[in-house]
C-alpha cells in the first residue's frame, strides 16, 4: 500500500453499459425462450453476442493500456485481489451444488426411506412405503424416463473416463506451471508451447466429458431428469465443464498474447489470473471426482 498518486483512474467507461444491455437482452431472451416465446432465442443470441463483443472490447482496452504502461504496481495489486475474490465467489457457487449433493445423500435419501429420528419412519410408511435408499437413486417416484432404472440403475463408474479426465486435468496443471516458469524466465516461445499443451489438454477433457454425456444419455439412460442423481451429476459436472471451457478460452487468449510477446518476466498478470482460474477448476474437479464418481 503505497502512495496513491499515479494510480490510474480512467475518465470514462463505455463498455459497462454495453454489457448491461447485453445481459438484459440475454436474460429477457432466455426467460421467454424457456416459456416458448418466439422472440426468445433471437434475443438470447443477440444478448450473448453483445456480451462477447463487450468482453472483447473491454479486455482489448485494458490490454492496450497495460501495454502502454498505464498501470503501476498498485493497480496490479487491485487486479490481483479482484481475481482472487472472484475465484472465491466461484468456490461458493460450487459450494451450493456440493452442499445439495451432500444433503441429498446424507439426509434426504435416508429420511425418505425411513431412517433417522423424528417422523422419518412415519413419513416413509405413509408416503413412500417400500422405498429403500441406496445411492445412486432417482427417488421413490423413480423420476426419469425409467429406461436406466429397468436395466438396473448404473452409477457412473470412476474407473475409465473419469480417471482419464483426472489425469488430463492434473497434467494440464503441470504444463500450466511449466509455462509459468517459462515466462518467469522471459521465455515467450516456451511459454506458448506449454500453454498450447495446457489448452489442448483442456480441450481433450471437454471432449471426453461430451463423450461421457453422450454415453450417459444414450447407453445408460442417465439424464438430467433422472431424479436427484441425474440432477446433481449433470449440474455439477456441467457447471464444471462450462468453467473448464472458460478457463481454456482465457488461457488461449493468454497464449495469443504470448505470441505477440506481451509479457515480461515480472509483468504477466493476465497469465497468472488465467492460471489461478485453471487451478481452481482443477481443484473443483478433484472434488467432483471424489464425491460424484468415487464415493
Amino acid at each position: 500500500m503505497s502512495a496513491s498518486s499515479g494510480y490510474y483512474i480512467p475518465h470514462e467507461a463505455r463498455w459497462p453499459i454495453v454489457g448491461s444491455v447485453g445481459l438484459f437482452l440475454f436474460f429477457m431472451g432466455f426467460g421467454s425462450f424457456l416459456n416458448d416465446g418466439s422472440l426468445g432465442l433471437p434475443l438470447l443470441l443477440i444478448g450473448a453476442a453483445i456480451i462477447v463483443w463487450m468482453m472483447f472490447g473491454w479486455f482489448s482496452m485494458v490490454v492496450r493500456e497495460s501495454e502502454a504502461g498505464t498501470y503501476n504496481g498498485q493497480v496490479d495489486v487491485s487486479f490481483r485481489m479482484a481475481m482472487m475474490w472472484f475465484i472465491f465467489s466461484e468456490v461458493m457457487f460450487f459450494g451450493a451444488f456440493f452442499g445439495a449433493l451432500f444433503y441429498a445423500r446424507q439426509f434426504s435419501g435416508p429420511w425418505i426411506s425411513g431412517d433417522g429420528g423424528g417422523g422419518a419412519a412415519m413419513t416413509n410408511a405413509v408416503l413412500w412405503n417400500g422405498f429403500d435408499y441406496i445411492w445412486p437413486n432417482n427417488g421413490p417416484g423413480k423420476i426419469g424416463d425409467g429406461f436406466a432404472f429397468n436395466q438396473g440403475f448404473t452409477e457412473m463408474s470412476w474407473f475409465g473416463l473419469p480417471l482419464i479426465n483426472t489425469l488430463l486435468l492434473l497434467t494440464s496443471g503441470v504444463t500450466c506451471t511449466i509455462a509459468h516458469h517459462a515466462i518467469k524466465d522471459g521465455n515467450h516461445e516456451k511459454m506458448v508451447r506449454w500453454l498450447a499443451a495446457t489448452v489442448g489438454l483442456g480441450a481433450v477433457f471437454v471432449a471426453c466429458q461430451a463423450y461421457e454425456y453422450y454415453h450417459a444419455y444414450h447407453a445408460l439412460g442417465l439424464k438430467l431428469t433422472t431424479g436427484i442423481y441425474g440432477s446433481t451429476f449433470f449440474m455439477l459436472t456441467g457447471f464444471h465443464g462450462f468453467h473448464v471451457s472458460m478457463g481454456a478460452i482465457m488461457l488461449f487468449f493468454v497464449m495469443l498474447r504470448g505470441m505477440k510477446k506481451h509479457f515480461t518476466a515480472e509483468n504477466h498478470f493476465a497469465f497468472e489470473a488465467a492460471a489461478w482460474y485453471w487451478h481452481f477448476v482443477d481443484v473443483v474437479w478433484l472434488g467432483l471426482f471424489i464425491f460424484v464418481y468415487l464415493v
Binding site: M1, S2, A3, S4, S5, I9, H11, E12, A13, R14, W15, P16, I17, G19, S20, V21, L23, F27, M28, F30, G31, N35, G57, M61, R64, A68, Q74, V77, S78, F79, M81, A82, W85, F88, S89, M92, F93, G95, A96, F97, G99, A100, F107, S108, W111, I112, G117, G118, N138, G139, P140, G141, I143, L224, T225, G227, I228, G230, S231, M235
Partner: protein
C-alpha cells in the same frame, strides 16, 4: 473507445465531470456512482413503499376488500425483494462509494470501470424484476424466500424473476470485490487497518459476507430454475431430493444477507454517535471484533428460520444456541454506543436523533429476535406477525433509519449546503412515532396467532391491524418530508463548513464542502491521518 492517451496522465487534477447525460452513463467517479446508487434506492424506496401501502390498505379491515389474494401475495413478495435488493443494499453501496475512498484517503475506488458496471446493472435488473408484475401470470407470489414447491407453481414470469436475481447478484459481487480491493489496496500511507473508521470496517466485513453468500443464492435459484424448466429433482422428494434442502441453501445465504443489511448500519451509527456526543467511540477495538464475530456466526445460524421443518433435535439445539450467541457481539455494540453517549456533551441534530432512534428500536428488534431464537417458543411464533414485527424493527428503524441518519449526516459534505434542521426534526419525530404505531401492534397480533402473508384475518385482530395500517400511511407520508428536505438541500441552503459538525472526526471532514470532484489525488499526509481518527 477511450483509447489511451499519455497526455491525459498528468492533467487528472483539472478534470471535472463530463457534461450532460453521458456524465452519469460513463462515469467512473466514485462520487457520481455513489450519487446514482443513492437516487436509485430512493426511487425504489417509494416503489417498495407503495407496495407496502397496498398490503396495509388491504389489511386495514378483515375480509378481502381491495386486491385479489394472488396480487396481495405478489405484493408481499415484491415488497420484500424491492426493499432488500433495491433499497437497503444499493443505498449502502452508494454510501460506500461516496465515503470509503474519502475516509481512507484514496483517490477513487480500486476498479472504477467495474464500479460503473456494478451500478448500471441495477436499473436493468430491476426492470426485469418489476416487469414480471405486468406479465400474464403476474409477479412472483410465493414469498421472497422462494420456497419450493409453492414457488415452482407460479406462472411464466418465474424465469424472469430468477434471472433478475442472477443479474442483481452479478452487481453485488462485483461491487463487493471492488470494495474489498479498495479497502485493502487503496488506503493512504499510515491509514492502518485499526485506524479505519468503523463504517469502513463494517463494509469490509459486509463485502466479505456478500462475496461468500450471494453465489450460494445464485446456486439455489439456479436449482429452482432447473427444477421448474429442465426436470431436475433437487427439491422434489419423489425424485430423491427435498424441498427442505432449498430452505437450508437459501438460509445459508439468507441469514448472512440480513447481516449484510445491518452491518453497514452499525458502521454509520458508530460514526454519528461519537460526533454528537463529542467523545471518541467507546471500545473501538471491541467494535471491530464484534463485527467480525457477528459475520462469522452469521454463517452457522441459518436454520433458526427452519425450526418448524422437523429438523433432528441436535440441529434444533445447535441452531438455537448459535443464534443466541450472536446476541453477545450485538449486545457489545449496543453497550458501546450507550457508553459513547454516557456523559458526552450531546446535542441532538437530526442525524443524532435518527442514530439514537436506531439504537433504541434496533434493540427492540434484537430482543424479539432472541425470543424467536428459542426453539420451543419459535414453534409458536413462526410464520406469525411476530416475526414480521421482529424483522421490521431491525430493518426499518434499524437499517432504514441508519440510511436516513447517514444522509442527514453527510449530505452537507455532498452538496455543500446544510439541510433544513427544523424539517429534519419533524421528519424524525413523525417517522419515529408512526413506525412504532405501524410495527409495535404486530407483536400483539403475532403472539395472538395472526399468520403472516395472508390477505384476510379473523375478527379479533381487527383493531390492531387498523392501527398498524394508520401507522403505515403516516410513516409513508412522513418520507415525503425527507424527499423535500433532500431536494431543498441539493438546491441550496446555508453553506456548510468543511468540518460541518463540531465534533466530527475523520478524513472526509478535512476536504471542502461540497467535496470536490476528485479528492485525495495526493494522499493525505501522515500528520493529517493521525489527527483524524479515534
Amino acid at each position: 473507445m477511450s483509447a489511451y492517451d499519455t497526455a491525459h496522465h498528468d492533467d487528472h487534477d483539472h478534470h471535472g465531470p463530463a457534461p450532460g447525460l453521458t456524465r452519469w452513463l460513463y462515469t467512473t467517479n466514485h462520487k457520481d456512482i455513489g450519487t446514482l446508487y443513492l437516487w436509485f434506492s430512493l426511487l425504489m424506496f417509494f416503489i417498495g413503499g407503495a407496495m407496502a401501502l397496498i398490503i396495509r390498505a388491504e389489511l386495514f379491515q378483515p375480509g378481502i376488500q381491495i386486491v385479489d389474494p394472488m396480487f396481495f401475495n405478489s405484493m408481499t413478495t415484491m415488497h420484500a425483494i424491492v426493499m432488500i435488493f433495491g433499497v437497503v443494499m444499493p443505498a449502502f453501496v452508494g454510501l460506500a462509494n461516496w465515503m470509503i475512498p474519502m475516509m481512507i484517503g484514496a483517490p477513487d475506488m480500486a476498479l472504477p470501470r467495474l464500479n460503473n458496471w456494478s451500478f448500471w446493472i441495477m436499473p436493468f435488473a430491476f426492470t426485469i424484476m418489476l416487469s414480471t408484475l405486468f406479465m400474464d401470470s403476474g409477479g412472483p407470489a410465493g414469498g421472497w424466500t422462494l420456497y419450493p414447491p409453492l414457488t415452482l407453481q407460479m406462472g411464466d414470469s418465474f424465469a424472469f424473476v430468477i434471472f433478475a436475481i442472477h443479474f442483481m447478484g452479478i452487481s453485488s459481487v462485483m461491487g463487493s470485490i471492488n470494495i474489498v480491493a479498495t479497502i485493502f489496496n487503496m488506503r493512504a500511507n499510515g491509514m492502518t487497518l485499526m485506524k479505519m473508521p468503523l463504517f469502513v470496517w463494517t463494509w469490509l466485513i459486509t463485502a466479505f459476507l456478500l462475496i461468500a453468500s450471494i453465489p450460494v443464492f445464485a446456486g439455489a435459484v439456479t436449482m429452482l430454475l432447473t427444477d421448474r424448466y429442465f426436470g431436475t429433482s433437487f427439491f422434489s422428494a419423489a425424485g430423491g431430493g427435498d424441498p427442505v434442502m432449498f430452505q437450508h441453501i437459501f438460509w445459508f445465504f439468507g441469514h448472512p444477507e440480513v447481516y449484510i443489511l445491518i452491518l453497514p448500519a452499525f458502521g454509520v451509527v458508530s460514526s454519528i454517535i461519537p460526533t454528537f456526543a463529542r467523545k471518541p467511540l467507546f471500545g473501538y477495538d471491541s467494535m471491530v471484533y464484534a463485527t467480525a464475530s457477528i459475520a462469522f456466526l452469521s454463517f452457522i445460524v441459518w436454520a433458526h428460520h427452519m425450526f418448524t421443518t422437523g429438523m433432528p433435535l441436535a440441529g434444533e439445539l445447535f441452531f438455537m444456541f448459535s443464534t443466541m450467541m450472536i446476541s453477545v457481539p450485538t449486545g457489545v455494540k449496543v453497550f458501546n454506543w450507550v457508553a459513547t453517549m454516557w456523559r458526552g456533551s450531546m446535542t441532538f441534530e437530526t442525524p443524532m436523533l435518527f442514530a439514537i432512534g436506531f439504537v433504541v428500536m434496533f434493540t427492540i428488534g434484537g430482543l424479539s429476535g432472541l425470543m424467536l431464537a428459542i426453539t420451543p417458543a419459535d414453534i409458536q411464533y413462526h410464520d406469525t406477525y411476530f416475526v414480521v414485527a421482529h424483522f421490521h424493527y431491525v430493518l426499518v428503524p434499524g437499517a432504514i433509519f441508519s440510511l436516513i441518519a447517514a444522509t442527514y449526516y453527510w449530505i452537507p459534505k455532498w452538496t455543500g449546503n446544510m439541510y433544513d434542521e427544523k424539517l429534519g426534526k419533524i421528519h424524525f419525530w413523525t417517522s419515529t412515532i408512526f413506525v412504532n404505531v405501524l410495527f409495535f401492534p404486530m407483536h400483539f397480533v403475532g403472539l395472538a396467532g395472526m399468520p403472516r402473508r395472508i390477505p384476510d384475518y379473523s375478527l379479533q385482530f381487527a383493531d390492531w391491524n387498523m392501527i398498524a395500517s394508520i401507522g403505515a400511511f403516516g410513516f409513508g407520508f412522513a418520507q415525503i418530508i425527507f424527499v423535500w428536505v433532500v431536494y431543498k438541500c441539493v438546491r441550496g441552503g446555508e453553506k456548510a463548513t468543511d468540518e460541518v459538525w463540531e465534533g466530527a472526526v475523520g478524513l472526509e471532514w478535512t476536504v471542502p464542502s461540497p467535496a470536490p470532484y476528485h479528492t485525495f489525488e495526493e494522499p493525505p499526509p501522515l500528520a493529517v491521518i493521525n489527527k483524524n481518527h479515534f
